[in-house]
Amino acid sequence: MREILPVPSPGLDLRHHYGHHQSPAIRAGGLIFCSGMVAVNPETGEREHGTLTSEARRIFENLKLLLESAGSSLDRLVQVHAMIYDRIEYDVLNRLYRQYVPNAPPARTVMSVQIEAGFKVMLDVIAAA
């Protein structure tokens, strides 16, 4: 059983806004697989470039919306791939990150890569449904 989750807010559909050929999130086998998320306005889909902290905050807020609309939550994250544009921002990411997953944080891998459209951070997660 493979189910495409509807987006709780129109701005989160990057396929619609930017032609990225992907579904925002898919539920399968008791897990929710999310596409890599970047900082966009949840209503309009407009890109919100900023500092790594402001981008990561926006992503977590959008992720919260998405997971909660599917009956999951940030507490149910299983694995996170945190992609950042430069390793030098690692501590900056951690400071914001721990605010959103204060207890029993998920498994995580951080890597420094090129992210679409000049964003500084992207989160790619799997959560328990």
């Binding site: 990225h20 050929h21 579904s23 399968a28 086998g29 890569v113 992210i115």
Partner: protein
């Protein structure tokens, strides 16, 4: 009860790069309801690396990935998550245009990022699919 874990190793050099490139990996592993496919790069019918444009490499990889999944009783239509690594995000659209041909309806969740790849490949793709 322990989850069953099965190695999916087709005896076809065109879809299993591990013998020719001498890599310590299985092409795919089935565990429970899921099949986890290793990161695949473009290889030709003999298992040698195939270097081409981002579009050509993407096409070669997704065709091989479809075969790996089909040999395991799954298919691209059952993919739930795909991770695409490309050597430069400037090539995003060149990948995306070929990619969409392979997932005509209800595409899987996906993450694309620009990374330094091994062996001169321009594209590498991995996925998780339902068995």
């Amino acid at each position: 009860m322990a989850l069953q874990r099965d190695v999916i190793a087709p005896k076809d050099p065109a879809v299993d790069m591990s013998p020719n490139l001498n890599l310590p990996l299985s092409p795919a592993i089935q565990a429970g309801e899921f099949i986890f496919v290793s990161g695949m790069v473009a290889i030709d019918a003999t298992g040698e690396r195939m270097h081409g444009t981002v579009a050509a490499e993407t096409r070669q990889i997704l065709a091989a990935m479809a075969r790996v999944l089909e040999l395991a009783g799954s298919s691209l239509a059952k993919a739930v998550k795909v991770n695409v690594l490309i050597y430069s995000m400037l090539e995003y659209n060149n990948m995306n245009e070929v990619y969409r041909e392979f997932f005509p309806v209800d595409p899987p969740a996906r993450t694309v990022c620009g990374a330094k790849l091994c062996g001169g490949s321009k594209v590498e793709i991995e996925c998780v699919a339902l068995a």
